[in-house]
């Protein structure tokens, strides 16, 4: 049988008593919604993508992916395989300037919505 490239987590079962109690969103969820609705999340992601292309990070990740594809075989590789393969190195090799810029933008946004 064909392996699915993108493994989605199973849809959580809806329990009956949950329908009666309203769920309280966490602060992070509230902030995330504001982030997305304001368009800031998309802007931030575009900015970071651009920075990561400029500094060669994306190419490095691409090379890592090609190595995985070569090892596993083109038809057998899944998106999960690639994500697992590049996440540690990907997180670690973000240039400090990019990290600082992104954090600063996020913090500015948080301060602005806190009012």
């Amino acid at each position: 049988s064909r392996r699915h490239s993108v493994n989605r987590p199973p849809t959580p079962d809806v329990r009956d008593d949950d329908d009666d109690r309203p769920k309280k969103p966490s602060l992070l969820e509230i902030v995330n919604i504001k982030l997305i609705e304001s368009g800031e999340k998309e802007r931030l992601m575009e900015l970071v993508r651009e920075r990561l292309v400029e500094c060669g990070w994306k190419d490095e990740m691409g090379a890592l992916c090609r190595a995985v594809v070569k090892k596993n075989g083109r038809e057998n590789v899944t998106v999960d395989d690639l994500v697992r393969a590049i996440t540690p190195k990907g997180r670690a090799s973000i240039p400090d300037s990019v990290k600082a810029e992104l954090l600063q933008r996020i913090q500015t946004f948080l301060v602005s919505v806190a009012h």
Binding site: S5, L52, M61, G62, R74, V79, R91, K99
Partner: protein, 173 residues
């Protein structure tokens, strides 16, 4: 918890979230390229080398039916065409009878190198150049009718007589 701590914690979470999303995007893109076989074209030179080797192998393969049969190549309908198209027609420039396969080089000579053809060409291009330059003292008159846009570009500096033009709209005072 102070607000500052809260902001630091939240920003760290959001940072991690954004980064992970980008990593998934990159992995997804690489996955697509790998599954579609698009990474085979990444190195252009190697790809061209590979294609030429394959083409050569195909050409020299004797078991290949229908390709090169002596002089003529056979197409998928089994028709054969000569290497040089041999339909004959008349050149619309000079009126001579020309073979289709020889038409392009003929046109090059016919429109470029022939004595009369060359004179005709240079007369019309130099006339056009003179119309466009400002302050040109030359008054060149050509038998070709002029559009008003050309008149506007030469700011009344070229002394073009209005006689030869079908529309005598000279806007200069």
């Amino acid at each position: 918890m102070f607000v500052v701590d809260l902001i630091l914690q939240l920003s760290s979470d959001i940072y991690r979230d954004i980064l992970d999303s980008i990593i998934v995007d990159v992995a997804s893109e690489s996955h697509r390229i790998a599954r579609l076989g698009l990474d085979r074209n990444l190195d252009l030179e190697d790809e061209e080398l590979r294609l030429s080797v394959e083409a050569r192998a195909r050409a020299s393969d004797p078991s290949h039916s229908g390709e090169a049969n002596g002089k003529y190549v056979v197409d998928i309908f089994g028709q054969s065409h000569p290497a040089i198209a041999n339909e004959i027609f008349d050149c619309m420039n000079c009126g001579r009878s020309i073979m289709a396969g020889r038409f392009a080089p003929h046109l090059e000579k016919c429109m470029g190198k022939g004595r009369k053809a060359r004179l005709k060409a240079t007369r019309s291009t130099t006339a056009a150049q003179n119309r466009y330059t400002r302050g040109s003292p030359l008054s060149t008159q050509t038998p070709y009718s002029n559009s008003t846009s050309m008149n506007r570009s030469s700011n009344g500096s070229s002394a073009i007589a209005g006689d030869d033009y079908s529309n005598g709209n000279l806007e200069e005072p």
